[in-house]
Amino acid sequence: MGNIHVDRKLCDNHGQCAIAAPDVFRMNDDGILEFDEGFADTLLDEVEEAIDVCPVQAIFLKD
């Protein structure tokens, strides 16, 4: 199990994470990010892609 932290002060709701890792990140109807804090290890590649593509680099992996 991995854990995600999103810095909400940085997050600007671009939605790129929801493209890279749709199993973990979603944009709601108001355009606001929703995500699962914990994710299965099999989704690590997806989550790393989401971290890569965040324009404001707001997504962190927690130890």
Binding site: D12, N13, H14, G15, Q16, A18, I19, M27, N28, D29, D30, G31, I32, E48, I51, D52, V53, P55, V56, Q57, F60, L61
Partner: protein, 420 residues
């Protein structure tokens, strides 16, 4: 002896290349060489949020520095010295210090530098925005009431003009050959963006280029730029002049190796540099075929391209070194965005290649109220741009571009038709 891959360029493309080489299983040396003294950092804020409020130089760097992947270990960073020459036959590169480094594989990620306006007049006091230092220097001059003249209305020019205006400067945008971001947005939306900028206090000047830089009328400032003369005869005085007229690929160091360097580095669809052996290119210096639209090889200057191309180039280079065929090529879908006065404009695909345009929802002359525009080439949807709409709506249009759906399918998509 250990095998070594040299990555030329230590900005986002160099970082993503190093990360993807490790992710693809490379266990040999990785040496990343970059001209800038800083570790890789994120450039989009340089013309927006960071230009508005950079803080101290240390705070500014901390705000934009990339966090490399935890798996990207054992990378040697050689910062503050660029590569000045390469001998691809001998498989060596030469640093500015004179030192030579041999490689088994080479990644070209040397990116771009700002183009400069060629016109008579003083050189002093003319700004560009590419590096952290550029942004810190420009920020100091963006004081309330300053007369700011921005030449060039691509993304960076528009962003700098909007930021200067928000900081209380009296701002004029000299558009250049086409309207605001017109190459990426098309004429309809560019006209809408111009009206939007005008309504928020940015004056725009269309259809003229700079023919002369004026010297500041102050004895202490001899040699400092104090305005411009335009090709239509207009004289514009300014306290601050910013040049945002595009960029040049950094490829001079590759000359003499028989490569096609006519616009960046010519690559195949795997980002392998043509006629260069174990060499790939990453980021906006790479000119590669557009499998998605069928158009010819082109460079893409959008932010996502270093990441997208590194994911293709790294495994292709490792396959070459192993004597294997590269994995099947994928075709990155370009994406881009800008923020102007708190309004988000997001796009996907290749609107610049469109032969026709259709407004899907909203009114292109009022982008702040929410608008979506589709871009077609030979009847196929190849791009979409939204302005002032939530990201979820943009994602639906992105899916449509990926699937090349006709716009009729979008009009009935849940939540889209009702959202105006």
């Amino acid at each position: 002896m250990s095998s070594r891959i040299v990555v030329a360029g230590a900005s986002m493309g160099g970082l993503r290349a190093a990360e993807q080489l490790r992710a693809a299983g490379w266990e040999g040396e990785i040496v990343v060489v970059g001209e800038e003294a800083h570790p890789p950092y994120n450039r989009p804020p340089l013309s927006k949020a960071l230009l508005a409020a950079p803080g101290t130089p240390e705070e500014a760097l901390a705000a934009v520095q990339f966090r490399p992947r935890a798996s990207a270990t054992g990378i040697e960073w050689r910062l503050g010295t660029g590569i000045v020459a390469a001998d691809l036959a001998a498989r060596t590169v030469t640093l500015g210090s004179g030192e030579s480094i041999s490689y088994d594989g080479l990644v070209i990620a040397t990116g771009l530098r700002p183009a400069r306006i060629v016109a008579p007049g003083p050189l002093g006091g003319r700004h560009v925005v590419r590096s952290l230092e550029d942004t810190l220097a420009l920020h100091k001059e963006l004081v309330p009431g300053a007369r700011v003249l921005v030449v060039g209305s691509g993304f960076i020019g528009c962003e700098v003009a909007a930021t200067a205006s928000e900081l209380g400067c009296s701002t004029v945008l000299v558009e250049g050959a086409s309207g605001p971001m017109e190459r990426s947005l098309g004429k309809e939306l560019a006209d809408g963006v111009r009206g939007f900028l005008n309504a928020r206090g940015v004056e725009t000047h269309s259809g003229a280029r700079v023919t002369e830089f004026l010297t500041k009328e102050n004895g202490n400032d001899a040699g400092t730029c104090g305005g411009v003369v335009l090709s239509d005869g207009t004289r514009l005085a300014a306290d601050v002049v910013v040049e945002a007229v595009g960029s040049h690929p950094n490829t001079e160091w590759l000359q003499g190796n028989g490569l096609d360097l006519s616009d960046g580095v010519l690559c195949d669809e795997h980002l392998r540099v043509v006629n260069a052996g174990p060499v790939v290119a990453v980021g906006d210096v790479a000119r590669f075929p557009d499998l998605r639209t069928g158009a010819g090889a082109r460079r893409v200057e959008h932010w996502a391209i270093p990441t997208d191309t590194a994911k293709i180039a790294a495994p292709a280079l490792l396959a070459y070194l192993a004597g294997e065929d590269p994995p099947a090529a994928s075709a990155p879908l370009p994406s881009f965005w800008t923020d102007l006065f708190k309004i988000r404009i997001q796009g996907v695909g290749s609107p610049a290649l469109a032969d026709s345009v259709e407004v899907f929802e909203g009114d292109a002359s009022a982008p702040e109220a929410g608008v979506a525009v589709g871009y077609f080439r030979a009847g196929r949807l190849i791009g979409a741009v939204t302005a002032g709409l939530p990201a979820g709506i943009q994602l639906r249009y992105r899916t449509a571009v990926l699937n090349q759906e006709p716009p009729g399918a979008l009009a009935v998509a849940p939540g889209v038709a009702s959202r105006t």
